[in-house]
């Protein structure tokens, strides 16, 4: 569905009036993007769909609070989807005792040329092997750009714990990719450049 940003704003305005047509249009317009977000956080397809519908129900229920001056509707809906996904699997979030003095992890832990040649599904498969708390921190930080303070507020953990989990996630992921011959070859080439 080709809808411009301006049209999306109009759809939001119509959704504030509980217009079913506008709600359907908005739902379908953001379906792909938001479903990808839910699928990233939740491995199971059914859970991802549930999180998606729960998130969109929250969107429609609280759309009166949305202020277009503060940002785009897409970013606002994305945040709601992340919250809905994490809430659905919050019971699995076990952070344990993490040290507060964790080192700042390397930013480009996978060289960009290597990352560009990998399929996201393959990367995600490796991410899924990490503990759920660690992979959640990794996705929140690397894919969605949250700061450690925001992650700490979202997951009810300290910034140090968040930093430690991110560091652990990057280390393990790098190790996993190095163990994979094709990825290792790519990484060697990428690092050599």
């Amino acid at each position: 569905m080709n809808v411009t940003k301006k049209q999306a704003q109009k759809l939001v305005e119509a959704c504030k009036l509980n217009d079913r047509g506008a709600q359907e249009a908005l739902y379908k317009y953001y379906y792909a993007d938001m479903m990808q977000v839910c699928q990233t956080y939740l491995a199971e397809e059914e859970l991802a769909r549930e999180a998606f519908n729960t998130g969109f129900l929250t969107v429609f229920e609280s759309i009166q609070k949305f202020d277009p001056e503060r940002g785009e509707p897409g970013a606002w809906i994305r945040k709601i989807m992340i919250h809905a996904s994490i809430d659905l699997y919050r019971a699995e979030l076990k952070f344990g005792n993490a040290g507060d003095d964790a080192p700042e992890p390397e930013i480009e832990f996978i060289p960009p040329p290597v990352l560009g040649k990998l399929y996201f599904e393959d990367i995600l498969r490796h991410i899924r092997t990490l503990p759920y708390a660690t992979q959640t921190v990794f996705i929140l930080s690397v894919l969605d750009g949250f700061s450690h303070r925001e992650i700490g507020e979202q997951l009810n953990i300290s910034e140090g714990t968040s930093r430690w989990h991110l560091s652990e996630a990057k280390k393990q992921l790098r190790r996993l990719l190095e163990n994979k011959p094709a990825a290792a070859e790519l990484m060697e080439r990428g690092e050599g450049k």
């Binding site: 379906y31 429609f60 960009p112 996201f120 894919l143």
Partner: protein, 221 residues
Amino acid sequence: MKKTLSYPELWKQKQRELPVKGSPDAEWQKMRVLLDQRLPVAAVTKKPSRFKVPKWGLKMFVAVSTVAAVYVGSRLYLPKKHQDTVKPALLQTHRDSLAPAVKSVSSARDAAGSAIRAGKPGFIPIVSGVAPRLIDHTKLNNDTSKSQRIVADSIRAPSFLDIPVHRDSLLSSPAEAVPLKPVRDSISPVDLSKKDAQKDTQDEGGKSLKKKKRRKVSIFY
């Protein structure tokens, strides 16, 4: 020139490669059921109008309508009030204008009555039961045949037969009494001035009420 993405953007681009599972149409049906339960369409009562009236427009409308109401009210109410004050005054003026005529009628009747009683020559005792009041003389005077007959009966016949007509016998019921036209040949005016007599002869049609009064005076000749 190849556009280079920053590291976070590269990750986001990678995420968009993820194949989407499920059909939006099928998922929307589930969503719709949820919405009907949690946000029914009838729950929204306030629907803004397609044509929004600005606030200044409402203020302008109120101001214009107030001015119009005041204007219309002043046009309708004040003339009525003016009428209420002017009408009695006009009525009084009208009465005052009639008073001399009525008075003259009364005095003429008294004079004629005393003359008849005294037996003065030239006074024939024709007495009408009609009091000097405002009646439609036009209608009565148009009935010429009746009035002429009454004149013949009341004036000529008694004089021809030489039978004196008693005043009391002529005081018939007011309903039968008909104001008569004066017979000027045989009767001289009692109390009219020369000027008034001339006017009376000029305006035979008898348009104004005053003139009709004067004509009525002539009944008592």
